[in-house]
Amino acid sequence: MIPASFEYYRPKDMGAVIALLEEHGDDARVMAGGHSLIPMMKLRMADIPHLIDLQDVAGLGGIEVTDDTIRIGAMITQAELIDHAGLAQAAPILREAALQIADPQVRYMGTVGGNVANGDPGNDMPGLMQCLDATFSLIGSEGERDVAARDFYEAAYMTAREDEEVLTAVTFPRPNGGHAYEKQKRKIGDYATAAAAVQITKEGGTCASAAIAMTNLSDTPIFSEAASGALVGTSVDAAAVKSAVAAMLDDIDPAEDNRGPIAFKTHVAGIILTRAIERAWSRA
């Protein structure tokens, strides 16, 4: 397979990246690990006349874990995330999710920034970041700004990021309580038929807070406030889980595709969320 030809750039600093994006506008795109973009270019579904490889750009790496905040540089790969002991301890849901993304080879190349910025509804990190209430840092010619993950996704491949902006990092409050990332997929390397990210805190025997986000069940990730709310104040018994699932099903809007008809996806979404809530609660 031979993609359409392109000019290739490998700048060393963000200033040069932004200058290229400004110069070439829609004809330019940044590439992190390339494991979403390159397959699309090979299929000629993406034509990128000016390809800007971010691999040498300074300041896009690093995982910082403090007592209350976690920051992950955009170019951190899924493999680096999985291997980071401090992160596994501070926010284990990330490792649990990353291990379910693609396969080992792809995880060496695929990055957190690429996964969240791409806007593919099939990517796992966007829903996860909504569950964690993360903030995405963007940089462009007009300077830096932050956008909440829960406000970032507009439609499939459409996000709040402007064409000449680059996503540099994700930051989120250090999560508390129990967690689960549950994913149903047809085979290793596949995107989710349905996936659920759940964080729950418990006080006494009662759910004090919950955050629930679903993946690949709409053209954006779905943070379901109603489903989260259905658990708070309950003992997360069968009835509470059932109402959380019902609330989630009201919020999603799956489409029929090669992963199955809508009825099947709805069914799987319910089962996946039930499992995720039960597992998160058992760890809370």
Binding site: M1, S5, E7, I38, A79, Q105, I188
Partner: protein
């Protein structure tokens, strides 16, 4: 067509200079330009792992990397692991334990397995299956591949101990 560029790669320990369009996929650079035909083209869509090589310590599917991205990097293919006269312990083990039938996936399998054993010298069966999940084999049913990697691990660990 975009202009050809000069690239420099170290492939199996040998520094190699070449002139290519940036869009050339690394698997083609290796196979057609450098005549390194161990890495195979299977699916060419990042699924099957037949083209797996090691780049700067990472297992990478060479069909999903442009030669431009690999500029300046260190690439190891199956040819860099062993030779017909001095097989790598994994090659020996795959032969011994019937870890292959048609052999098409084998270079990718062994290159990936070498990296897996470097990171985890004593993997459980589950860890092997998880770590090899990016490589498909349509012949063996995987059982003998797992056995081969387990056998190679024992062999390599014994050799390491003996060397100490």
């Amino acid at each position: 067509m975009s202009k050809k560029q000069h690239y420099k790669l170290t492939v199996n320990g040998t520094e190699t200079k070449l002139l290519a369009e940036p869009r050339e996929l690394l698997i083609y650079t290796l196979r057609e330009r450098l005549n390194i035909t161990g890495p195979h083209i299977g699916c060419e869509t990042s699924h099957c792992g037949a083209c797996t090589v090691t780049i700067d310590g990472k297992s990478v599917k060479a069909c999903t990397m442009f030669v431009a991205q690999a500029d300046g990097k260190d690439v190891t293919t199956i040819e860099g692991l062993g030779s017909p006269d001095a097989l790598h312990p994994l090659q020996e083990a795959f032969r011994e334990h019937h870890g292959l039938q048609c052999g098409y996936c084998t270079p990718g399998m062994i290159t990936r397995a070498a990296k897996l054993l470097e990171e985890n010298p004593n993997p459980t069966e589950e860890e092997i299956r998880f770590g090899m999940a990016g490589n498909l084999c349509r012949c063996t049913g995987y059982q003998n591949i797992v056995k081969s990697i387990q056998a190679a691990a024992v062999e390599m660990n014994a050799a390491k101990e003996a060397a100490q």
